[in-house]
């Protein structure tokens, strides 16, 4: 019998009442009296030298308040990068300046050259057309290989070349080379992890406000982490002390990582609100989003897998070029390194793993974390090369994986992390059961009878979530702590507000977090509300990304609630004239153990705020506690995924017939929300595998900047719900956080792309197209058809 409340229950999402009735309060819904509007004049060239920006004609146009260019930001800090990578020679990464508005050069299509603030958006746009630009176009660097060639055009003239860093990690070269030398078989695969645009439903918005009376700034922004923005923008860009800067991220309509970062537009609105002494609002258009939201992925990789004569994995070696775009976005440098290299062992006990990554500047939009961030790239290459090896060796791909599984925990990988717990055999067996692997041959026959090729793709994945142990990431170059914080404020009548550092932008925290507190206190969830997204209301937490909210912020909330319980027991002990060590809390009642003497939750909370009969000499009145929680380790969700596709040999079109995920997320608080997260993640993974591609031409022109050219997955690209099975019944609880939870937000997007591609290759082989060993994503009909036909 499933629970109907508390941990393990699936109450409906309470935030949906406002989201589904049009009552959400998104940043674009926020309008401040007297606000002006900004339109950014963006570069339509990928690379050029700015000779002159003549704003004189535009300044006299109707409604124009002020026009800003890069010159207005001289002396203002640039947008900082939050993670310093040390390269294989011990040198710091190259960290070029990233001005709020272009200074001297434009470096990608969409780079903001000037900002027109006007009474209306139309007036701002019209005036921007009157700005005379004298820009000499320079050759653009788009291809990473060409960018690294000697003598290549440089994105940043003050750097020696376009290399941000050359990073090596994991097993040393001697060990790795020796393993390859002793191998009975080596499988090599070259692949591209396609560049994606996150495309949250709500585009980015920023509203800057300034109070001259108090010298106080307020920024309303579409952020996943308002405190991070306050710190980065206040301390590094604009020099505003934190007590004079409030950052509010209200309802946010999807983030997927792209709203983690500190962007030029929000710094601009904050700056301009003071400079113009007027609130300034910016709302991104969808076209702008394509050329100003940080993109995702864009890795080019060669991976090699060495196996001994018994098909045991001996070594993995990778060589990746990772596109940084034109500037280093906030966490760009960490994605291809620590969020990617540390996962290259996968679910396997491979003794030697060496990861090589060159990060490259190009004249493209900056690239940063997107749902999964480095871990999908790791999973894709590893699970594709294993599949290729199985095919070359003529062995069952499931059996090959199984024989190489890590089975003993904790397990220290050759790539720095220690998996605390897991059971990869359990998820594999669950996947086989749900997929009905045994019935595949018959289903393939049925497809063939229709003239279709049917393929089965399987793979495993592991990810490091619950980001992150601060002392560890500090050693790895992070310039921030990655703990989180929660304040549990119990009101006099017993209702509770929980102020959390995590930010909910689709995850359902407002529903899930109260389930945990309610379970701990034995009170009704309806008595508990979550407050998030406003630095003036919540403790200094680090926000939501990397599937961290419940594992890190939820743990802080548990610790704060434990403090509440301890104090409440003392109060109850006083009221019951018993020792607090004898007080038990159950179902919202404090009872003296072994007696029928009890007081209710509400009696205790009232006593805390009306301390007439209260041990004031021993404890303070009030009932409010804060806890900061820094995790001891990452969490390691893992699973086994499978999908069946049909490929139409006439057209190359791929249809996903069935998808199964068997995940181990540790303990699950709200199964319905977990399933929704995985459904959404897999849909995005299917989007990457079959449809999405952010394309540039050789001149650095962005070719896919609308939904006419950038193919998002639609309902009919995703299997019907009956064939879209997400399971999380295999649970090995995390050993180091109080809830035993691991995180589920990114798993679907990490695990699913190789599943789809493996299935397509399998289908083509069944049709006799055995020369096809790989097709790069998106596996579009034209690419499949070309591969089948040897083109």
């Amino acid at each position: 019998m499933p629970k109907d409340h508390g941990i393990g229950a699936s109450p409906k999402r309470r935030e949906d009442v406002r989201f589904l009735t049009g009552a959400g309060n998104y940043t674009d819904d926020i309008n401040v009296h007297g606000q002006a509007y900004v339109h950014f004049l963006r570069s339509d060239m990928a690379h050029g030298t700015i000779n002159k920006i003549d704003t004189s004609a535009a300044e006299g146009m109707p409604g124009v308040v002020r026009i800003f260019t890069g010159a207005d930001f001289e002396g203002v800090g640039g947008l900082p990068c939050g993670w310093e990578i040390t390269d294989k020679n011990g040198d710091a990464m190259k960290e070029p300046g990233h001005p709020v508005l272009c200074q001297g050069k434009v470096r990608h299509v969409g780079d903001p050259i000037a900002a027109v603030v006007a009474d209306s958006l139309e007036e701002a746009r019209t005036a921007a057309e009157a700005i005379e630009l004298d820009i000499t176009e320079l050759p653009a660097v788009v291809d990473m290989g060409k960018a690294l060639e000697a003598g290549s055009t440089k994105v940043h003239d003050d750097l020696a070349d376009n290399l941000c860093y050359d990073w090596q990690f994991g097993s040393d070269t001697e060990t790795t080379d020796a393993a390859f030398k002793s191998a009975a078989h080596v499988t090599t695969l070259e692949l591209v992890n396609n560049r994606l645009v996150a495309n949250p439903m709500e585009p980015r918005v920023a509203v800057g406000d300034y109070s001259r009376a108090n010298d106080e700034h307020t920024l309303y922004t579409t952020s996943q982490n308002p405190h991070v923005i306050r710190l980065l923008m206040g301390a590094f860009v604009l020099g505003i002390p934190e007590h004079k800067l409030r950052v509010v991220a209200p309802d946010v309509g999807g983030g997927f990582g792209t709203k983690i970062f500190h962007y030029a537009e929000e710094a601009f609105c904050t700056f301009a609100a003071k400079a113009c002494n007027r609130p300034v609002k910016w709302t991104s258009t969808r076209s702008e989003a394509f050329m100003s939201d940080a993109h995702g992925r864009d890795h080019v990789t060669t991976i090699e897998l060495a196996l001994d004569k018994d098909n045991n994995f001996l070594a993995v070696r990778t060589d990746t070029k990772a596109n940084m775009g034109a500037y280093l976005s906030t966490f760009a440098s960490s994605v291809p390194t620590w969020l990617h290299g540390t996962l290259m062992a996968g679910n396997y006990k491979t003794p030697a793993v060496q990861v090589n990554v060159k990060a490259v500047f190009t004249n493209t939009v900056p690239v940063d974390a997107y749902r999964g961030a480095g871990r999908p790239e790791a999973t894709f290459q590893l699970e594709r090369v294993i599949d290729k090896a199985a095919r070359e060796l003529g062995v069952d791909p499931i059996a090959l994986r199984r024989q190489n599984f890590i089975t003993q925990f904790p397990y220290a990988t050759p790539v720095a992390v220690e998996y605390d717990t897991g059971d990869y055999e359990a998820t594999m067996a669950k996947m086989e059961e749900l997929m009905d692997i045994g019935g595949f041959a018959a289903r393939r026959k049925a497809s063939e009878a229709k003239g279709m090729l049917r393929g089965l793709g399987v793979n495993c994945f592991i990810e490091a979530c619950g980001i992150a142990p601060s002392n560890l990431v500090g050693q790895l170059g992070a310039r921030a702590g990655l703990y989180d914080a929660a304040t549990v404020r119990v009101n006099a009548t017993g209702s509770i507000s929980v102020m959390v550092g995590a930010h909910s932008h689709g995850q359902g925290h407002e529903t899930v977090f109260p389930q945990v507190v309610a379970e701990m206190l034995g009170i009704d969830e309806g008595m508990i509300d979550i407050v998030h997204g406003d630095t003036s209301k919540i403790p200094f937490g680090m926000g939501t990304y990397g599937s961290r909210s419940l594992a890190v912020c939820g743990s802080a909330m548990v610790r704060a609630t434990e403090k509440i319980i301890n104090k409440a027991k003392k109060i109850a002990g006083h009221l019951l004239e018993a020792s607090d060590s004898d007080i038990e809390l159950k179902d919202g009642q404090f009872t003296v153990a072994g007696t029928d003497k009890s007081v209710a939750w509400g009696d205790v909370t009232l006593a805390a705020y009306v301390p007439h009969n209260y041990p004031l000499e021993d404890i303070e009145p009030g009932l409010e506690e804060t806890a900061f929680y820094d995790p001891a380790n990452f969490t390691y969700p893992a699973g086994a995924y499978a999908c069946e596709v049909e490929v139409d040999p006439e057209t190359g079109k791929v249809t996903i017939e069935k998808f199964v995920s068997a995940d181990d997320f540790g303990n699950v608080v709200n199964p319905m929300i977990v399933e929704g997260q995985v459904h959404g993640g897999i849909a995005q993974g299917i989007g990457q595998a079959l449809l999405e591609n952010c394309a540039y031409d050789e001149n650095g022109q962005l070719l896919s900047a609308s939904y006419m050219d950038y193919a998002m997955p639609r309902a009919d690209d995703i299997p019907h719900m009956a064939s879209y099975v997400v399971d999380h019944s295999c649970q090995t609880p995390c050993t180091h956080n109080p809830l035993g939870v691991k995180g589920c937000g990114e798993a679907g997007a990490i695990g699913s792309p190789p599943t789809v591609v493996n299935a397509v290759i399998d289908a083509l082989h069944s049709g006799g197209h055995t020369h096809v060993s790989h097709i790069d994503m998106p596996v579009s009909p034209s690419r499949v058809w070309a591969a089948m036909n040897g083109q």
Binding site: E129, S287, S706, M708, D709
Partner: protein, 176 residues
């Protein structure tokens, strides 16, 4: 995007050459051209109104003639800025060869677009550029030789729908 084509014009290479250098001819032939001024020596300034897929814009730009070998070959280079719509630029290497019945005009065209044109119109830009080149050289052919000698099919009207009819063949009549 690159295109190569050739067509035979019923006029001598000298007549064709003279027509290419004439801003009035260029204005009549560039599809969507509403203004054209300047000279072959100093370059032309042009205003062109065009719709590329979903993007309609007024392009202001320049056309420069270079590598001129009278009666034989030249290069046309143009660049137009369309404000928020982005930019278009391109060049054509034109070669003239005397053949039986007139002059063979051979062209290699290279066209590039940027900004919103590339972002929203890239799928259709190849077809669009080919259409523009076809229209330009068809217009040019009719301007030089008149419609009755246009070979296969009727020449395309000027894209802005202006008085293309009465201009047909006018240049040849003028110089012959």
């Amino acid at each position: 995007m690159q295109m190569t084509d050739s067509r035979t014009i019923a006029a001598s290479p000298e007549e064709v050459w003279a027509a290419i250098l004439d801003p009035e001819v260029l204005k009549a032939c560039v599809p969507g051209c509403t203004e054209m001024s300047g000279s072959a020596e100093e370059g032309f300034e042009a205003t062109v109104v065009q719709k590329v897929g979903p993007v309609k814009a007024t392009f202001k730009g320049t056309v420069v003639l270079s590598d001129m070998v009278p009666g034989q070959s030249l290069t046309l280079t143009g660049e137009g800025k369309g404000g928020a719509a982005g930019f278009a630029k391109g060049g054509a290497d034109v070669k003239l060869t005397a053949v039986e019945g007139g002059t063979e005009l051979h062209y290699d065209v290279d066209a590039k677009v940027g900004g919103k044109l590339a972002q929203l119109g890239s799928r259709i830009i190849d077809g669009f550029a080919k259409k523009m080149a076809d229209q330009f050289f068809s217009n040019f052919q009719s301007a030089v030789e008149g419609p009755q000698e246009a070979g296969e099919g009727a020449p395309l009207a000027n894209a802005d729908g202006d008085d293309g009819e009465k201009k047909k063949g006018w240049f040849k009549k003028l110089v012959s």
